[in-house]
Symmetry: C3
Subunit: 366 residues, 3 copies
């Protein structure tokens, strides 16, 4: 949580890749290079794991974005496959139900020609009570080079990363972080906003931020890119965010409010969050009907926003609760694009982490 | 449900492929052509989806049969694989438990070198209550080119087909339809009956037709091929079929009866249907023991039939209920052949639908 | 259970592969040969199935070990894949939850370029009550060449083998057998013990042997290799083993005791078994705490053993119950190695069985 962001450099550059000194970037973004194994890539990625986005500097975020551009070009081919990760075992260990994140990583890994092993916690020995530490050791011993994991306990991927010899990618841990989601959101916004820049743009995260790993990871990336970020929802679902905003951790500032009209006024982007129906029992939330009436993203509320407002949702949606059905399919909604960009972003992440790992191996060998 | 069947043409032709004017058929049935990607195939298939068999004309049924012949030849090779669907993402979304249909589509897709993604509803975000529409949109955005789905609600694949940009294959919807099962049944019958013709053959579907998508889809294909079709079972499990038979929808006629002896007399084919044990609770069915005594397919009952009668069952069987164990393994039983032919038929369907899709794309591009 | 072991021949040979007369062995253990399809291999393996290890002679055990050496070399390559099983369908049918065995077979099969189909009983038509016989027939008809199965009923793979036309590999059946586990344990021990020999070595299996298929299969392999085997645990969990030991079935003798100190004294190897928490209800076991106090493998108890004692556990572990956490990660523990060797052993087994099957086919064809 100590990432230093040099905003001046990025702000002064009009280019989409303001890191000319890094020789790897231009090459990583050209398509033919992606076909070569990552061992031969001079990429400047230095992280072994992807646990959260708080550790990523702005140049690193740009590198992910540029690599994702290259992966989008791969996806546009008649056969959207490259041999970059051939022979690499990517194990996907999910302790929570998921379609889009699990399948997105699976498709991304297969597009890079990796071998994919799926482990769903409910049908595995995990249900016999084996500790996470032992499970991770076992998965490594079974041949996994990269481990994508989702776990209900915040911080568990950090524990896994201490043990696992390869790369750990956090596919969502408790309320804490969902880094690949924040990166695909960032990529989607940049491709939609004029000039591709978030600088000074008003971005609203609307809903249950308290229980949302999506909100927490997006706070890091959106503030790193210079957005004017607003977190909005019922006050019971914003606990702790005011303090965070006030501290301005690592120079990142944002506004916290329960006033949905103030938040949406002239907003450039609105990201509605999923309301977990189970939250009702906790007493933190009124009825779903009342939530929809007071905070649901409707066409009426959107009239307050910038006419070209970008509407986002991480999915799966409760239509008619946090987002109206006609808003979800509005031309200004990029919800489906988020899913498609998710595959490209995850291809980029797997690719960059595999390259970092290969570099590390070489250093050890030298 | 408006398929016009020109029986005169088909009846006048003694050949197994009575569509000489269609240039694609002969080539589609020769093995080498299957090795080429479907983009280069001049196939005459014009359907984008496979939702039910009611929309298939007799020449189209012949095309499926001929393509299945080619796929049988592929399956007989030492390495039963062709590159036809390389780079194609086939997503299998099943909301109900299944072994044979799910695995059959998976093996078929892999034999054509497609990439397969499995989504079981119980372990997906579907269990979080996401709507089918959103799930289908998400699956397409994740890169699926073809969607094989099973769903407990009749008609849901039609809804999916309205949204999905690629091809939807119905793997069974409620009591409504199971088109690939009817086509594999047809293929199996043609390979077993002398001359490969169903014309005038007495075919009996025996059991719980009321709750059976297998029965409903078979009614379309068997009548289209000119069979003398009998639907037999307890009257409570035949509700609605008498009216359907009397209307003779789209020129298709069949006989409905509860008299099992009359039905089996001189039968050329008997297809026993699975009795769902859960049906007891509905009061529509007596005890399993009584059902077995009155309608179970036993050796004794089969003596009534043609000595060369063909015995079928879509599986999974309740042996000793709708079919006696010794009948299931009788030399006249083709139950295992049905399963094997299922893989070949599904290869043919995936292949034909991929070709139709490629043609559609080309037209759009032109 | 009639395997004849010629100990004199093996004992007189100092080499790790004391079967010079078998032309296949040397070649099977050299890496390049593994790259060729098994059809061209002159291997001497004559078993069609792997149901238990009791049927394996000492030369056959040596052949598995030698082939595993070759597979370890494959696993050490940058891309750990060989085309040996290309076009072979390996279906993995598990009626019990499992991570390590299921994934180990899946990775092993994929490393040999096989096509893998996973069927979990809970989500398949097996849950509709289909008989095992029908399920196996269906899986074969769907194209499976090799069937890896785990089932809660002892002996069920033998039933499957009577029906299935390809090779059946037992991945664990009830309390009866877990042959691939015993073989990976054997391989791990040989690579750790000086000289690679078990002859006269004191090996202790500690825990709940009564309910353990791992114990039963290890008894066969360890006695076949000449180990001085001790089975130790609470007397309620050793029922039947004294009689077995006294009979010395097939010339195999071992010691049964509840005296943990006597068992561990000067032990060369200790294999702790998993305590199933469900066993408490049966009244056979005191509380977990009492079990841990009286039979748990602790550093203190290990002081009794040979200073270079090898510590094993088949996993998943209940740390703090049958094994202390610090013992599990002790340098003398080979628990993680067991998992890695498991992939190599299963590659060897799939490879040998595929070769036997190809030979059988050729004979039929000739």
């Amino acid at each position: 949580m100590t990432a230093e962001v040099d905003r001046s450099e990025a702000a002064s550059s009009g280019s989409r890749f303001p890191i000319p000194a890094e020789p790897g970037v231009a090459e990583a973004t050209s398509v033919p290079v992606v076909d070569a194994p990552p061992e031969t890539q001079p990429v400047s990625w230095r992280h072994r794991h992807l646990l959260d986005v708080d550790a990523l500097t702005r140049p690193e975020l740009e590198l992910v974005m540029g690599t994702t551009d290259a992966m989008r070009e791969v996806l546009a081919r008649p056969i959207p496959k490259v041999p970059a990760l051939r022979g690499t075992n990517v194990t996907i260990l999910f302790y929570e139900a998921s379609t889009r994140t699990r399948v997105s990583f699976e498709v991304a890994a297969k597009n890079l020609s990796a071998d994919v092993v799926n482990i769903a916690a409910a049908s595995s020995s995990v249900s016999k009570g084996e500790s996470l530490v032992d499970t991770v050791r076992t998965i490594e011993a079974l041949g996994a080079d990269m481990l994508v994991m989702r776990h209900p306990v915040s911080g568990s991927p950090y524990l896994a990363a201490e043990i696992f010899g390869g790369a750990v990618l956090n596919g969502g841990d408790g309320w804490h972080a969902h880094p690949s989601q924040a990166l695909l959101d960032l990529y989607t916004l940049r491709s939609r906003l004029p000039g591709g820049s978030l600088d000074g743009r008003k971005v609203v995260i609307l809903g249950d931020s308290l229980h949302s790993r999506v909100a927490r990871s997006n706070i890091w990336t959106l503030t790193a890119m210079g957005a004017d970020l607003w977190i909005c929802g019922p006050s019971t679902l914003l606990r702790g965010f005011e303090g965070w905003a006030a501290r301005g951790a690592a120079g990142r500032r944002f506004t916290v409010t329960s006033d949905v009209d103030a938040a949406l006024r002239d907003a450039d982007v609105v990201m509605a969050l999923r309301i977990q129906k189970g939250r009702m029992a906790s007493g933190l939330l009124p009825s779903l009907r009342e939530y929809a009436a007071r905070y649901g993203l409707t066409q009426e509320r959107l009239r307050n926003a910038n006419p070209d407002v970008v509407v986002m949702h991480p999915g799966p949606m409760n239509e008619g609760v946090e987002i109206a059905a006609d808003v979800a399919v509005d031309p200004r909604s990029v919800i489906t694009e988020q899913v498609t960009n998710g595959v490209a972003v995850r291809m980029a992440l797997l690719y960059l982490l595999a390259g970092a790992r290969a570099g590390e191996k070489q250093e050890r060998g030298a």
